[in-house]
């Protein structure tokens, strides 16, 4: 029973009064545990200091696992198929990146590969690796290292921007050829929402507090 309790509430780390500093105005606040679903704002500028998201660990693990499964579909199933001039071309993200690299636009190709294949994988994979064991109050080996690198990777996750790029391209090509959306395309749309859900499910402070408490056991 004691093990299950760790997925219910945001544990308070050991040690003296904990503080929070506003990211915008540098005001110093005393940080105390808050109820699920509430948030704490800076008294000086109103920016959010931290919030206690409901069922955070469960939701982040669930969305991350969903994202990983969707990624398998996105990168193996056909994304778009185009019929033009008697020729049929099928596009998947890894093949697109590879073609760009061999076409001589290596940096653009690597850019696509990193922003749409590598970063979501690091984010979703990392979240499952860290938050899965945390649900049972345990800390996976190297979890802190993984979490650190996930924070660094987060701004570079451009899945939604890529989707907009796909839509713009389709409209451009639509007048030239006949296009069919593959399973990969729809899976990619779902992946976008799933990743957004995973990242939004847990507050950074909460994740680190849980890591600290789990490590101290």
């Amino acid at each position: 029973m004691r093990k299950r309790l760790s997925i219910l509430s945001w544990p308070k780390p050991r040690g003296g009064p904990h503080h929070a500093i506003c990211h915008y105005c540098d005001s110093l606040h005393v940080a105390e545990p808050i109820a699920e679903g509430t948030r704490v704002n800076c008294v000086c500028c109103g920016a959010t200091l931290y919030q206690n998201r409901p069922a955070s660990l469960a939701r982040v693990t669930a969305f991350s696992m969903t994202s990983l499964l969707l990624m398998i579909v996105v990168h193996s199933a056909p994304f778009i198929t185009m019929d033009a001039g008697g020729m049929r071309t099928t596009l998947t993200l890894p093949s697109a990146a590879k073609d760009l690299i061999t076409e001589g636009a290596a940096i653009v190709g690597w850019g696509v590969a990193i922003f749409t294949i590598v970063t979501p994988l690091v984010m979703a994979g990392g979240l499952v690796y860290v938050c899965g064991p945390l649900m049972f109050g345990r800390i996976a080996p190297g979890a802190k290292f993984v979490t650190k690198w996930m924070s660094r990777t987060e701004p570079w996750n451009m899945v939604e921007v890529f989707l907009l790029g796909v839509l713009v391209s389709l409209l451009k090509l639509g007048s030239v050829a006949e296009l069919h959306f593959g399973v990969g395309f729809w899976a990619f749309g779902c992946l976008m929402f799933s990743m957004a859900g995973a990242v939004a499910a847990i507050d950074k402070r909460e994740l680190w507090d849980r890591l600290e408490v789990a490590e101290g056991r």
Partner: protein
Amino acid sequence: MGSVGGGRGEMKETGMVPRGVDEGMAACHVCEKVSPVSEGRCKRCGSHLHLRKRDSISRTIAFLIAGALMYVPANLLPILSTRELGIVTDSTIIEGFLQFWRSGSYPIAIVIFTASLLIPILKIGALLWLCGAAKGWVPCTAKLLGRVYWVTELLGRWSMVDIFVVAILVTMVQLGNYMRVTPGPGALAFAIVVLLTMFAASSFDPKLLWDRLAHEALKKREETGSE
């Protein structure tokens, strides 16, 4: 304790609430744990502790100048090269926008215009303004500027849309000798502009704006005090 629940509660003026820099306390930029700066490294995650981002204004301005310079070739050089039946057509970002606009696809034209032309310029302009306000060259209204910074960071990545469009078109259109699309040098230049502006936004420390406000409030108090 901050105001709980989601509402603002009572807002206190700058100068009434202790600031991290005055107490020598810094929040770790990775795990948000607040510790004395004298400790050097965060006990929880091992990252360096600093009161402010190092050389924030210098770095931001450097990235902005580099980005602004790269913006010229990004728009003058072709982003896409189409070879149709032996005829090669190069198109720049602006030409791509005009093509959409003239063919009546107004929504996409607006997307291209916003993402590739408007956002980078606004972003560079906004960050320069923020640097100016932090240095005191420009009057500083903290609330508005805080919002500007937040929007700038949010919108920055959307300029990558054009790069992804190029990537997709290049891959999709491989119709042998009939039609072939290849990326142009403008694509690389533009990708670099987006990267540089993203680095510029992350180098800027918004706390410098409130430092400026606190400094001006202090000066005002000294002036009224000496009267």
